[in-house]
Symmetry: C2
């Protein structure tokens, strides 16, 4: 069997997880990792696989079937997404919700011109959570959607704390409020304020001379990030942070509560939840499943930007349609 | 906007729920209900809609876009599925898992010959549970699947009790064992015997002269149905059965527990659960979403039998692809 030849652009957390994920998919092989750093400075875990400068990718279009774009949504993907769509089938996890329509258009144009399939905004949110919102909405047209995130590490919030004067390091957990989830599960269709859905817990390493009370005040009053939430701040040592908070767990809940019946007398609850020890590992594995789909759709002659909404589930699986019907249906 | 013209074959619980579900989908209208009974004996809830004898459907191929087949999997669908596939786009909830491949082939041939799209085995299991098994398997190739059913009414088990001598009426609930679900959620990857996953609770109305101890014994030792489970039997009056057990609730849990990481050090739990006040209402609403997809796929020139695995999620929604990307992604 000819394996799907995969390239990785960007070798941060997500890129490294993608490399590991490929080992779980027998129909894939890693061809190369592409980086903006000096390739000689990169140590690739997979034996026999090299790091290349990102500018060399353009010379390897005949060696790679799908490129997994593992850069960030803020500054990397808006540029890399359309660029690589002109050269390869791609998959990315672009997650700036408000800019998805614009990003889709940019990638779609380049992908159609170059006859590639480019899956954007894959992962879990957007991605699996989006899929579950869609399926639940079509089944229960009359109802309410709820999304809770966590317990998990928010990189953006951790970064925001680190920018405060006197802070050496920090980790922030987003935690859904259990009683709020329970109320939704009971079909009570509650309306929540921001404060009623999630709390924020911060673990902060302060510099020796820092004013801790001032740091705590600055965190708790930071608009958009913390002011709208009940926030707790714990000061800990660098050693404690390393020992107890070095993981990148995440997860969450997508719940739809809907009504049916002649007089809306029947309540239905659809719930999808994730509990992830490693956010990047899980995200990478979703991207890889969509890489398989991108490869196959392109083999069938397809082109253009796609999202998880546009791809029939069978394309994601290594199993044949007959096997799927027999074993998973 | 031209509405999707829907027909219903069979006017039992599922047919009636389908009729109600159409009211929640603004792009659909009910054209007729088709029955093997005397149409004059059927009272259709929807004003202006008539009941027809099932043999009249053949004369209405130009009036109906999608036929929803609401008969049973045991004897109705094996005959009606292929028959109606030769005349209409169809959707059904064929749920005899072992016979799906054979049923697929029979429907596929007729649907291809007549240029129709026929979605088989839709609903929630098979259906939404199958989809979640597939998505979870492609994301976590190394892991274990768990499906729990309930708490809900099993029609088959209730019927089995009713066939025992001395039983006037009965209702059986399948109940998942909470500690088993918790163990799965904790990533313990347990192996279960049948008895460790579900219990069975029976509410029985006995005839006056009946030997209750004998009925209880017969239930608890019935092979395949009860012998492999811890079963409790409650004798109640017909009035109590009517008052407290007339609903048809159901639901369940599909959980996949998987590992990632360089040394499989990360555990991930994907859980999908349903809590349904009305099994037929929910099933009907799933069938209707797939009716929309069948209609659209056929408009695009598609034909043949399809399952939930073969249909891109966007086809299920009344919303445009642009709206979906903007609002649900």
């Amino acid at each position: 069997m000819q394996k799907i030849r995969v390239g990785i652009v960007g070798y941060g957390n997500l890129g490294k997880s993608t490399e590991l994920g490929i080992r779980q998919n027998n129909d894939m092989e890693l061809i190369g990792v592409f980086t903006r750093r000096d390739p000689a400075s990169i140590h690739i875990l997979t034996e026999g696989v090299k790091a290349y400068h990102i500018d060399d990718a353009i010379n390897m279009t005949d060696k790679i079937d799908v490129m997994i774009l593992c850069g960030g949504s803020m500054s990397d993907l808006p540029e890399q997404g359309p660029f690589f769509a002109g050269l390869f089938n791609t998959v990315d996890g672009f997650d700036t919700h408000a800019k998805i329509p614009e990003y889709y258009e940019a990638v779609d144009k380049k992908a159609k011109d170059s006859n590639h399939i480019c899956v954007i905004s894959s992962g879990w949110d957007p991605g699996m959570f989006s899929l579950n919102r869609l399926y639940a909405n079509v089944i229960l047209p009359e109802g309410n959607d709820y999304t809770f995130w966590g317990k998990g590490v928010s990189q953006g919030h951790s970064d925001a704390i680190r920018r405060i004067e006197g802070v050496k390091n920090a980790k922030q957990y987003t935690i859904p409020i259990e009683s709020a989830i329970e109320s939704v599960r009971e079909g009570e269709n509650p309306e929540f304020t921001t404060r009623q859905k999630h709390i924020r817990e911060c673990f902060v390493v302060a510099k020796e001379e820092a004013d801790r009370a001032q740091i705590e005040r600055e965190i708790k009053t930071m608009p958009n990030y913390f002011a709208e939430y009940d926030t707790t701040v714990h000061f800990i040592t660098e050693e404690e942070l390393e020992k107890n908070h070095s993981g990148i767990p995440h997860g969450g809940f997508v719940i739809r509560s809907g009504k049916t019946g002649a007089n809306n007398e029947n309540t239905h609850i659809i719930e999808y939840s994730l509990k992830l020890d490693s956010n990047p590992d899980f995200t990478a594995n979703v991207l890889l499943a969509y890489a398989r789909a991108a490869y196959r759709l392109n083999k069938e002659g397809g082109s253009g930007a796609k999202t998880v909404f546009d791809i029939a589930p069978a394309y994601l699986s290594i199993k044949s349609n007959e096997e799927l019907r027999q074993n998973l249906l």
